[in-house]
Amino acid sequence: MDITPHTSDRPPMVAVDSVTRSFHGAGGRIVAVDDVSLTVEPGEVVAVLGPNGAGKTTLLDMVLGLNTPERGSIRVDGITPKRAVQGSRVGALLQTGGLLPDLTVAETVRMIAALHRHHTPVEQVMDTAGLTGIAGRRVGKCSGGEQQRVKFALALLPDPALLILDEPTAGMDVSARHEFWQRMHAQADAGTTVLFATHYLEEAEQFARRTVLMGAGRIIADGPTDEVRAQAASAHVTVTWSPTAEQLDGLPAVASSEVIGTQVRMRTDDADTLARHLLTRTDAYGITVTQASLEEAFMTLTGAETTKETQR
């Protein structure tokens, strides 16, 4: 198996090459990851952004060797995912990882530390993850956010070159989320490669210079976070207007529209063009433009993908 060619003398930290993985589902086979290729260089911080069911967890599981691709290959730091994990080069905060409720926080960290060939001192990891104050607490009595911090500590234990975080801030409130990313910044600044999955656009914006947009098992966009966000940008335009069907159909850049009484609400990927058209070519008035949420942006992007698929 060959390694994806690249310019630097080090192999890429993560090299995913044309990977497909499907599962048995209720309605037959569900393709969770569909011919995905992705390369992450050492030191990069990359967000994998997508709604639930986009295939983020399946992709990250395969990068961690918890799952194997049906087609395609994955290399982590030049070797197989399983060997990279066993060699303590990868740390992971798993969405589906479980902790034992009857252990204390400190015991959990010490127990997992005992299973690593090399590990960062337990006290140091607990300090970095902010666990020193709750070291003696039973895991079962910790809040969801505190348990995420315990998992974060476990991810840091092997002093990994690559950190993989699957929805790391799930169950955290706003301030805990902020604090978590503060801690992550310190890790990334120290040169750790970070690949994380999230469905919060803000997290990708604030933390990752590069964002990979996933939907329906495929990569929809991959590039600098600003550009990807612009691509995912979508807006709602609402006007007071009573159009005919031909007028509605003739609107430029409209993804969908609905008429509610005398109001017409449209979703668009180019609000300027649409607004100009509405105000100059029609008798619509009282215009408001609002930025759509990420979920809606995804519907615009992945909705198009789905339509293409049904046409195939």
């Binding site: 599962f23 798993l94 479980g98 009857d102 127990m111 005992a114």
Partner: protein, 253 residues
């Protein structure tokens, strides 16, 4: 990497679980004191020892089976609830987890056997030293099929409650295993085919060479091949069920 540290911590976690250690160690000890020490027939001789020793062995078997059932069952539940994925992120080689859990369960079983034997030694149980060692070792070994029994419960129902129920059901299996009161007639004939019967009879074998007495006072002898067949057959049944359930678990993913 220190597998010993991991196992020691895991063992301590299970030992301090009051529910666990109560049923594994304290309950069988109490039962032995009630039915094996403070009774009129405790001093009557049987095989190379006395009835007190005969009772003690059965209680130790019951405790050891409780230990392996609950620990193996809990391990299956833990793995499926995500702890297994956490362990998969370490240097722990695939398969070593099973080995470490088996050793932990056997040490827990050995604890029950040790406590029962020490209590027996300082109260009314009497056996020759050689028999004492042989029966203690066979008690621990005989509890192994119940690790598979616990795994079946854990894999099939994926909940601590199911594992608890499986441990609780051991009381009935223990009764049918001739562990608590000598059985008689048709019930004894049926009991010979139940899983605890082989385990208890194997542990008692060094004491009486398979001889036993029914409630009515009738003598019988269980041949060694029959005892071993019982243990092997049930280990096979539980083992096959584990494999089938394990396959189902991976297919769902």
């Amino acid at each position: 990497m220190s597998l010993i540290t991991f196992m020691a911590m895991d063992f301590w976690r299970n030992l301090r679980n009051v529910g666990n250690s109560f049923f594994v160690i304290m309950l069988p000890t109490a039962l032995y004191i009630f039915f094996g020490v403070n009774t009129g027939w405790a001093d009557e001789s049987i095989g190379d020892g006395n009835v007190s020793a005969w009772t003690m062995i059965a209680m130790a078997s019951y405790g050891a089976a409780m230990a392996t059932t609950s620990l193996a069952g809990a391990a299956a539940v833990e793995l499926q609830q995500g702890w297994g994925r956490q362990l998969a992120m370490t240097s722990l080689p695939h398969g070593m987890y099973v080995v470490s859990k088996t050793v932990t369960a056997l040490i827990m079983a050995a604890c029950a056997v040790l406590v029962l034997n020490v209590v027996g030694l300082f109260t009314t149980a009497e056996m020759s030293a050689a028999v004492w060692w042989q029966t203690a070792a066979l008690t621990v070994v005989g509890s192994l099929p119940f690790a598979l029994y616990g795994l079946v419960a854990g894999l099939a129902f994926r909940s601590d409650a199911a594992v608890g129920a499986a441990s609780g059901f051991l009381v009935i299996l223990g009764f049918l295993g001739n562990a608590f009161a000598p059985l008689d007639g048709a019930l004894l004939d049926f009991a010979r085919f139940t899983p605890m019967y082989g385990t208890v009879a194997l542990a008692r074998y060094p004491l009486t060479d398979g001889d036993g007495v029914t409630m009515a006072g009738a003598q019988y002898t269980d041949p060694l091949w029959g005892i071993l067949l019982n243990v092997a057959a049930w280990a096979l049944v539980f083992g096959v069920l584990c494999l089938l359930l394990g396959r189902r678990a991976t297919m769902r993913r």
